[in-house]
Symmetry: C2
Subunit: 325 residues, 2 copies
């Protein structure tokens, strides 16, 4: 079992790599090698047994050909320019999020055309697929209508993954991820960065400026559940997916106020008071296009699971990071 | 008013060119020049006043830069590899239908970045956007789920047009065309070719082999109505479109049997008997993924109109072609 993780140096990609190596198997087969492709890697990557870190760009054809070779059984395609950055730099987003996807799929097709068994691919799409006039509660029949370039690029990726799958060039599955909370590390250029920062920064003794109001709703999933979902999505048999190769992952709905209240219950009043509100019109304009309430019967029937509640999301972060509270 | 029509040598593109030149105006402004881009042109193109025919390929960047220059006010993007051909030759479809679209949009963005007023573009998408588990009647809220590469490429084009529009690089509108009936000319590689052939060939004294059964349903629109719709789509103000830049055009639903019966009523029994059934599994596999019944309230509210009935569709063709019956 040879695995490629694009974006393998990123928060989710690196966590996925560690989770897979801790299991030792994927789809019941032993993991013999793993390639992580990214522009940079966190400390400790050199200690991952059987993993090779390749520094490079998914929008470079030669790099993609290097990491995606015959015998690659599993691809997790997480590499992407995040939402805020893709909106601020249109060409960058198009190059990485669209051209990168096109190159990766074309390379997988080329490898399969050479006689190799088609790879099975999991692609991280996003609820940024939705926008415009939204119903109060979205479900599996809600049309995609992205109102950010990031969302548009993700939807296009889903359509390509579906068509390459239908043609037999690969066996692809796309997951529309909720906002991932709590991300470890630093705030980033994602418009959703605040959703983790308002939990993470106060727990580390730092004041967090929240760019959206307390009434702002978020559809969220913890990183642990996302990693579980990526692996589960890969391990499901093709017939579980059928002709529709994308789905909305389950999540939970919370307002910023509710998250701060949960933080207070988990970590105390002094910690919760480190969240201060400082409006940012640019972030608000993006976030208000995102959906908040979902029904996800298809994903639930396929065995995907949301977190129990916001407190458990926060407690999972506290445990992951060995934070004393 | 400078106009570019990609696919301007094709059946619809050339008909659109003639219709626009007969009007003399678009959006109330005089048409000063028109460029038609295509791989080949019908006889008579040299007689079109103010029109320049450019022989070339929309997937060639230099060609696109040549035809799409500052001052181009209107673009009608019809150039495409048809459904059957895009399914048979995946790389050809991806190159023309996807890369061609990407090049055209990037060029329009470049021109606008140079200070020109962003062009207004109409893109011909298709009901091949739909597939998989379809409701009995589709409507404006039905999700896209293409089951052909042609359909996938069209959906991607719509998403790109919407995002380029949202970013202000152009003012785009995508129309999901029903099957166009009756196309003039020869049968082509479109899987839907039979839908016109079973009317057209018998009217010209030729036997037509229908690859699908008489019970097969078709969602159709006449070429005259399609041309009207392309012009109307262009002339509608941006606020009529809002944040959703694609729509399902109105049409009428007919079975093959109903079409043959209408042909009998218009042209007589001897003509109708020239339709013979000869099953083609490849064509059937594509056609059965296409939707047949629609409600199109959005398009109707925006002023788009279907044909009255199948007989009037046939009579329009008879009149266009000066056929004696």
């Amino acid at each position: 079992m040879k695995i490629l993780i694009t974006g393998g140096g990123g928060f989710l990609g690196f966590r996925l790599a560690r989770a897979l190596l801790a299991r030792g198997t994927l789809g019941g087969r032993e993991i013999s090698s793993m390639t992580l492709l990214d522009g940079a890697f966190p400390p400790g990557v050199e200690n991952l047994k059987t993993a090779t870190a390749v520094t490079g760009d998914v929008s470079d054809a030669a790099t993609v050909a290097t990491v995606c070779t015959p015998g690659t059984d599993a691809v997790f395609h997480l590499a992407a320019v995040v939402s805020g950055a893709a909106e601020a730099d249109f060409e960058l987003g198009m190059r990485v999020n669209l051209k990168g996807m096109e190159l990766l799929l074309a390379q997988l097709r080329r490898v399969a055309a050479g006689g190799a068994r088609p790879a099975r691919l999991v692609f991280t799409s996003s609820i940024a697929a939705f926008g415009g006039d939204l119903p109060a509660v979205l479900d599996d029949a809600t049309i995609a209508n992205p109102q950010t370039s990031y969302g548009a690029q993700k939807v296009i990726g889903e359509v390509l993954v579906s068509d390459y799958t239908r043609k037999g060039f690969l066996d692809g599955r796309s997951l529309r991820l909720p906002t991932v909370v709590v991300r470890a590390g630093k705030p980033n250029a994602a418009a959703s960065s605040f959703a983790s920062a308002i939990i993470r920064e106060p727990l580390h003794g730092v004041v967090s400026e929240c760019p959206v109001g307390p009434e702002t709703g978020i559809w969220l999933l913890s990183p642990g559940r996302v990693v579980d979902a990526l692996i589960h999505a890969w391990e499901l048999p093709p017939q579980a997916w059928g002709a529709q190769r994308w789905l909305n992952l389950p999540g939970i709905t919370a307002t910023v106020a509710r998250m701060v209240e949960a933080l207070r219950r988990v970590a105390g009043d002094a910690v919760a008071r480190r969240v201060v509100y400082k409006a940012d019109a640019r972030i608000q304009a993006i976030v208000k296009t995102w959906p908040v309430n979902f029904r996800t019967p298809r994903a639930l029937a396929m065995g995907f699971r949301p977190d129990a509640d916001v407190e458990s999301v926060i407690r999972a972060y506290v445990a992951d990071e060995n934070i004393k509270i």
